[in-house]
């Protein structure tokens, strides 16, 4: 080895199929020092970590999961391009990670890798499981048959990791295959079969424990019931457990803002700090409780092995609208918030299914719409009983949820039949054996997701919220003499850039029944939907966002017509607008991150705006004519 190679860190690639235990090994080898990013031009996640094997600095590259080097999925294409050195410096050595129980399948890919003539070793994971399933494998024989080093490990218990580190320190000493495996698929299968015959004294049986659990979990009657129970619990936990934390963050942010106003002399800097920067940071970290909770539950179910079963149960339903089973969890999570929901689409291997799921996720009624619905329904829908315990207010809320969800399914089915039709991925999903989750892996996975959100979407959200604050603040106008603080605040917002924009778009939104005040609210709600409530409170110079604001909107009279601004057609139209419109920069930011381009967020924003406008216009007209 040259002197340069001895100082530059060795680049070691980990290759393996999904569920092979590759991520567990990656974490065991690198600790939590993974750098997560995207490969240029593709949405596949890039993970690298630094490690030190016997004093030798090494960069460990966790290549995306692949079943084969004949590229079909975007993940597999990335694996090949990395091996070719197209996306980053090519790895100088490869460790192929294979589940000992599914060695048959892994050898098909190993044959392709050996043909590339890079120093390669084979790491067999889950050797304990192989024993439990009465499989008997002769590892030294396998080593001789393949001609490359083979090592058995139990990743989650750390067994064999020290030996693996010693092996990985010296790839130049690894033996090479004496004979090149064949390339053609049938010949390759023959090669695999002859090796398997030679090395297995007993092939593993299917896992008895898993089979027994599956007989209950996938039972024709119990299966769907259990699925429903798990999903309801999942949804409830996200709502019930995240809400207190979110309220706590919310209260903390506003307390901090108040104390800045109290401590600092009044002026632009205090305003920026208290009303721009602090709420901006707050609007980023407010997502963390949901993201951490959602991903803890998601990865827990995934690591146990239930996620694939859930997708198996519900796939038939999702297939009707052109999606697949794994999209269900994403869409369900989007009822809490589209941001973690969209992040959860990463488990969907088909790019077409994934994109369709991302594009319809914002239609699921997220929790940020609730304050808007609460204000409008509370102020304008009479609290009367309709039938038994069912109240009219509750029914309207239910209708809004249903409208969003049904539209999501409808749009998904249109998208997958038109724009997103091309795809060569069959639905292929492994039902892995049930496994006990490990806290370490779970923590690493959850931390990875939260950090990715903060770094990649958080920065965009913060920047946009500061820009919006500027639009709502500048140019600054001196308040009229003798104005109360509420009136001064109203005056400031009305003469700001956003206020002028609200006036400017009035002709555009008039057909929907909206005036300039709602216009300003809509512009401000681009930051987050619920911001329209606080903005309206500011415009109406209301002393609070509850009863006082409700009374103000109920009694607001249009000076030109002498009629109420919020009449029935306008309220209905505004509610419908919020069902459809994508007024959420955080969702746009996370879409940008997950699709790696502004194209898809721009598309989603536009189609949902057109949908919202059309539906609001129609609603306004229909309600108007119904009321005569």
């Amino acid at each position: 080895m040259s002197a340069a190679a001895a100082t530059a860190p060795l680049r070691l690639g980990l290759v393996g199929s999904p569920n092979s235990g590759k991520t567990t090994l990656f974490n065991a080898l690198t600790g939590l020092r993974a750098k997560v990013g995207n490969y240029p031009g593709v949405t596949v996640e890039r993970r690298e970590g630094s490690a030190n094997f016997e004093g030798r600095p090494t960069v460990v590259i966790d290549l995306p999961g692949a079943y084969s080097l004949t590229p079909v999925s975007p993940d597999e294409e990335v694996v090949i391009r990395v091996l070719d050195g197209e996306l980053s410096d090519a790895p100088e050595a490869l460790a192929v990670i294979a589940d000992a129980c599914t060695l048959e399948r892994s050898l098909l890919m190993l044959a392709q890798i050996l043909r590339r003539e890079i120093p390669t070793c084979l790491v067999l994971t889950m050797t304990d499981e192989l024993q439990a399933r009465s499989g008997r494998l002769d590892i030294p024989r396998l080593e001789r048959a393949l001609g490359v080093p083979v090592l058995g490990v139990v990743g989650h218990r750390g067994i064999g990791i020290a030996r693996l580190r010693r092996l990985l320190a010296k790839p130049e000493d690894w033996s090479r295959p004496h004979l090149m495996p064949p390339e053609e698929i049938h010949a390759r299968a023959g090669w695999v079969e002859s090796i398997l015959d030679h090395v297995f004294t007993r092939r593993p049986e299917s896992s008895r424990t898993s089979d027994a659990v599956d007989r209950i979990v996938l039972h024709p009657v119990i299966g769907p019931l259990l699925f429903a129970a798990v999903m309801v619990a999942f949804f409830q936990l996200i709502f019930a457990w995240a809400q207190p934390a979110m309220d706590f963050i919310d209260a903390g942010v506003s307390r901090l803002g108040h104390s800045v106003h109290a401590q600092l002399p009044a002026g632009l800097f205090a305003d920026f700090l208290a009303d721009g920067l602090i709420p901006g940071v707050g609007s980023v970290i407010i997502f963390l409780p949901q993201i951490v909770l959602l991903f803890t539950l998601l990865y827990l179910l995934e690591d146990i092995g239930y996620m694939a079963r859930a997708a198996f149960v519900i796939d038939r339903v999702m297939a009707r609208v052109g999606l697949e089973g794994r999209a269900f969890v994403s869409l369900l999570s989007s009822y809490a918030c589209a941001v973690p929901g969209i992040m959860a689409t990463r488990t969907i291997p088909s790019p077409r299914h994934r994109l369709a799921t991302i594009l319809v996720a914002p239609l699921m009624t997220c929790s940020a719409r609730l304050p808007v619905y609460a204000l409008l329904i509370g102020a304008f829908v009479p609290a009367v009983r309709v039938a038994g315990p069912l109240g009219l207010q509750g029914l309207v809320l239910l209708a809004l949820y249903a409208a969003g969800s049904l539209t999501a399914l409808l749009v998904a089915s249109v998208l997958t039949r038109t724009l997103l039709r091309e795809d060569t991925m069959p639905f292929y999903m492994e039902l892995p054996p049930y496994r006990l989750p490990t806290a370490k892996l779970l923590a690493a996975q959850v931390w990875g997701s939260a950090w990715a959100f903060l770094r990649r979407a958080g920065t965009i959200i913060l920047a946009v919220s500061i820009v919006l604050w500027c639009l709502l603040t500048f140019p600054r106008q001196p308040a009229p003499v003798g104005a109360s603080p509420a009136e001064a605040s109203r005056h400031a917002i009305e003469h700001s850039l956003a206020g002028r924009a609200g006036h400017a778009i009035e002709p555009l939104i008039e057909p929907l029944g909206f005036d300039w005040k709602i216009g300003i609210g809509l512009i401000a709600s681009l930051a987050a939907r619920e911001v329209i409530v606080s903005t309206l409170a500011q415009i109406y110079a209301a002393s609070d966002q509850g009863t006082s604001l409700r009374a103000a909107v109920q009694n607001d009279i249009d000076p030109r017509t002498g009629e109420k601004v919020f009449d029935a057609p306008t309220v209905a139209s505004l509610l419908v607008f919020f069902v459809f419109a994508l007024q959420c920069m955080s969702t746009l930011a996370i879409m940008r991150r997950e699709t790696n381009s502004w194209r898809w967020p721009a598309f989603a924003f536009s189609y949902l705006l057109v949908l919202a406008y059309g539906a609001s216009f129609a609603t306004h007209r229909i309600v108007e004519s119904l009321l005569g």
Binding site: C101, R105, S210, L218, F312, V313, P426, F427
Partner: protein, 97 residues
């Protein structure tokens, strides 16, 4: 495009083969061939649905689709339409769904 695998997908009357999708849960079968004229078919080959592979139908999803199979040490589910691309020889006589 030349199809090197054509010899593995002979006509129905020759080999007694049936589509994998037609087997009831519990049945075992040996793969005769996969229709590799489509990308899906070629993909199924790469995923291990190769001639002479032994496959067991484990179960159908509660709504009838997809179907779970056991092969090569792993449990894999495919949709019925994909399983229909795989021609198999049933291991024993029995009812077909």
């Amino acid at each position: 495009m030349a199809l090197p695998t054509e010899s593995h997908t002979p006509a129905v009357e020759d080999d007694g083969g049936v589509p994998l999708s037609s087997l009831a849960p519990g049945r075992s079968a040996t793969v005769l061939g996969v229709d590799s004229s489509t990308p899906e078919g070629r993909r199924l080959l790469e995923l291990g649905f190769l001639p002479e592979t032994t496959i067991r139908v484990v179960r159908r999803a509660p709504l009838g689709d997809p179907i779970a199979f056991y092969l090569r040490g792993a449990q894999i589910c495919l949709r019925r339409s994909e399983a229909a691309l795989i021609r198999v020889l049933a291991a024993d006589a029995g009812p077909e769904a």
